[in-house]
Symmetry: D2
Subunit: 342 residues, 4 copies
Amino acid sequence: MTYQIAILGASGYTGAELIRLIATHPYMQIAALSADRKAGMAMAEVFPFLRHLDLPRLAKIEDIDFSTIDLCFCALPHGTSQEVIDKLPRSLKIVDLSAGFRLRDAAVYEKWYGAPHVHPELQAEAVYGLTEFYRDEIAKARLVAGTGCNAATGQFALRPLIAAGVIDLDDIVIDLKAGVSGAGRSLKENLLHAELSGGTHTYSAGGKHRHLGEFDQEFSKVAGRPVLVQFTPHLLPMNRGILATVYVKGNPGQVHETLREAYRTEPFLRVLPFGQLPSTRDIAGSNYCHIGVTGDRVPGRAVVVAVLDNLNKGSSGQALQNANLMLGIEETTGLMMAPIFP
Amino acid sequence: MTYQIAILGASGYTGAELIRLIATHPYMQIAALSADRKAGMAMAEVFPFLRHLDLPRLAKIEDIDFSTIDLCFCALPHGTSQEVIDKLPRSLKIVDLSAGFRLRDAAVYEKWYGAPHVHPELQAEAVYGLTEFYRDEIAKARLVAGTGCNAATGQFALRPLIAAGVIDLDDIVIDLKAGVSGAGRSLKENLLHAELSGGTHTYSAGGKHRHLGEFDQEFSKVAGRPVLVQFTPHLLPMNRGILATVYVKGNPGQVHETLREAYRTEPFLRVLPFGQLPSTRDIAGSNYCHIGVTGDRVPGRAVVVAVLDNLNKGSSGQALQNANLMLGIEETTGLMMAPIFP
Amino acid sequence: MTYQIAILGASGYTGAELIRLIATHPYMQIAALSADRKAGMAMAEVFPFLRHLDLPRLAKIEDIDFSTIDLCFCALPHGTSQEVIDKLPRSLKIVDLSAGFRLRDAAVYEKWYGAPHVHPELQAEAVYGLTEFYRDEIAKARLVAGTGCNAATGQFALRPLIAAGVIDLDDIVIDLKAGVSGAGRSLKENLLHAELSGGTHTYSAGGKHRHLGEFDQEFSKVAGRPVLVQFTPHLLPMNRGILATVYVKGNPGQVHETLREAYRTEPFLRVLPFGQLPSTRDIAGSNYCHIGVTGDRVPGRAVVVAVLDNLNKGSSGQALQNANLMLGIEETTGLMMAPIFP
Amino acid sequence: MTYQIAILGASGYTGAELIRLIATHPYMQIAALSADRKAGMAMAEVFPFLRHLDLPRLAKIEDIDFSTIDLCFCALPHGTSQEVIDKLPRSLKIVDLSAGFRLRDAAVYEKWYGAPHVHPELQAEAVYGLTEFYRDEIAKARLVAGTGCNAATGQFALRPLIAAGVIDLDDIVIDLKAGVSGAGRSLKENLLHAELSGGTHTYSAGGKHRHLGEFDQEFSKVAGRPVLVQFTPHLLPMNRGILATVYVKGNPGQVHETLREAYRTEPFLRVLPFGQLPSTRDIAGSNYCHIGVTGDRVPGRAVVVAVLDNLNKGSSGQALQNANLMLGIEETTGLMMAPIFP
């Protein structure tokens, strides 16, 4: 059985990463690609690294015949995504990679994204796409909302700890280091090689980053009470990868054991032996997430470090994992390739 | 049918790249891994990016039972390689990735490598592993000698042109830019991040680089007369990739057409439309080689640019392609994954 | 004596580099800075690395009082530069860093820059700013045209050789590797960190790069006959630095001796011992240019490698060196700081 | 007046940075350089970027005539440093850059460095070299112990806050991001470009980093009670720069005001306007330290971010600043050069 796949917004990094992954997927075929401003172009012109693939030309969304499509990935900006998805056939399975449907509460959405949600009924319908924690709902969903890449990393480090009640919920610090591809292919001065290479800086510090909306929603749901973490992202001179250093108060051994137990059967989440901490290099290009825990000389403090590839496990890999579930394909299909190093 | 594979010298970059590629190969299973100084260690300790794989522990070569092995990759230093391969069972198929068996002439070997060849009879037996030009011999060979990564890049740009007689054989300049993984995991001051990042320099310039031995042997053989190219390698602050800028005298259109025709049916060699030149980013992590040709305002001059991934198509990918041929597996098996970008 | 300095176009990299250099110059004071679109802003907002300096706010050019200015650096785009300089007081000394006045012939200018020169009389007046070869004219000039950074590098490698007649004038190849700051602070996709880091590619290959206009003009003038070099620039994942690998036909020893003799008393041009080749890391952040020569196993061929910092010796350092001459200050003033490494 | 300077251990990065800085210092002359294993070599061989300077050859320490030396910088490993300094003439002023004399308590030294101090009487004599807080003692000292580069960064962010009692002393987290030159020119696998570029990882996490000894000593002294911070360093793919993200509990406005007031007259410490956070790019190559403060949506939490160049302000710049004080030279002499960007 081969499923026909459409990717809307194929001219950005997450769209290209989806194509890279699906290129060797045994049960999926790319039937349509959209990119409004680049409609008519070949993918080889937009992303020459995909030159060897036989792909459909980029089209405008309105020119795509969705009647033959089984599943549609939507890698558009979150505002556009809301408009576009509303117009797609209701029979179509959709995995959205934008921030358009991640938050359940319309008021919270408006607070973090600065404008009211255009289609609150779709917002209500969408299932939050953190695969390992929403597997059953995702398998049955029509519309799945991919998580933020930073939000995924922080949740992999923290959800089992919050659920198990082994850490102080009022004192959680997530210090996050992010590669630049997470910012997309947008033309901004601070993303230029000359500006970014060789240095680092914070961004959206002081409780301002939008992924806090996801942290608040999910952590509070898990805890059954409000949980407000501190979250400081830093931009690093690297293309792929997120490393979240999470400071928690609790017994380090218990913290480690809780995570190890929670992810014992997960194919993509690996908890390292106690005291070992992971590197972003060890997951680049893959759908794996490595997690380590260590203690401190100050008793009752633990440091959890989680790493993943923002474009893969943090975005397009997660999306494909969810799509597999939605189509009834084995969840790991097309996602088992090893990271690339060096 | 699953073939049992051994990799000798698994603690270097080419060994690790072989494991990465074979990890998703449908007909190969890694049965033994060697690394003398790291014998007893798990691969996850040596290369944590392979942590997710279920691999045999590193062993000493003498502790490996080769009776169950179908094919052995040898990723050892060229001197060691000669000693080790001589002692392996004659029934074993071997793909050597070192410089140990690339040169057919014992005197030439000694000239470039500074010591006599230890096993000239093996040197004579070995087939030169430039797949696209030695396919039939490789399919029948017991021992295949992987090419130098720089040597492969230059030959992809030049062999058809020399064979077709469309360029001046006495005036060929190969200006090559190489990523640092080609130098291996060796501890040298000039390979440190603090020394290498942010700058570039030549190495082995002035006709001193050992891959000149391969160029001389192969180009002279193709031309039926001595051909001596100029070759200047540069080390670049990038991990993977080689870009060879080749200056030739000949009709640019004819140069382009000759290459296009020569590689028309090759699965991994792509000749771009005339005037387009490739980037190393578009082949990183893959077995593809992209080639472009342009002319100059000075008539009768052409520039050929070829790019490939030194660890993949230039080394471990080529080795796997050859192993497929030697085992009667479809040549492209396990090698069709897309490059990784960004 | 303190000279009052204006810098027009201070929001680009060459403008900022001028400020960095002049900050510790004992006889110059920055009295005015312009940046039309950023007028009103403080330099600390545009370039926070200059935060510690007490600098005038950015102004529109028309709001600057040039009556108190002794010398004006013009770091504007070449089209704008022509318009602006025409309107500046004739009493003002001007060092232009753009391509606006580098070419003497109006037809040649139009050919390379695609539009007629707006002020051919200024074009005729301007002195070509390659300090080491136009020292006397520069000292007397009102308007000096800074050279292209690539053009400077190639000329340092070749001018003495062409003048001395020690190389074949019809067979010169300049393979150049350039850092990304040479492309300026412009927002282009291929200059993004995610696109540029970790790889390399050619640009303006095949006889199309505009600096060929300078090479043609200068080399033909020196030779007394037309000289057309081949020139292929490559963009490298590094911020500062140019390395030009120049292939010439001639006696390598004579080539080396000619360069060594030519630059024996030059404060910023260093010729290395024969056989040693320079690295861009050794001149980054400085006004030095290092040059090396080696031979080849093919007799009668030499490779000359020249490195300099495109923003410093290739642009703003050269401009300051010229300004010193124009103001009667010792030429090396403010330019003797060591490169920065690592 | 020109002071004669010796630098012991001139073949490492901090030694080279000292030479870079002193090269343009108006009152210092480099009279002797040592590097035991490289004795006899010219600096241009060891660090070609210093090729333009007229420097003494590297010598063995025992071959240096200290009778004409006014001040000696000691950039040796901490064990060696203790032995060497004990043998130097007592009349010599010494700035040590190692960890040999930073800790006052012999037991604490042994705990962090794993061996007893060889010369506890020198340990007792040495003044801790954090210039801004020990200015008077340094001016009178014979032996000054340079601080750790990470230790300096954390102290600039925290000392005034601890002194003023505006933060909770039992809940301080320092999440630090460090460039690789801080690890020195040592040949370690994880410092190779192929291993380090493009990724990040923690090191010495979990309360194990030796600079904790300095934090404990200094913060406890300032507070008048034990203060134990949490400290997690990360290695980043950049050559120069440290960014410390410090999480404190206290009123953000008060935190900002305390730092601003404390550093109001400091020439090298700049506190940014509230809410602005600094980048390492803005201090690279300079002796400046930029500090920013922001609040959080969780009341009573503040984030302090401090950046400095580990080789300059964190090491050799600090050493020169201290040497100026010890010699009675204006403290900022030779240190006012602007950072280098891009």
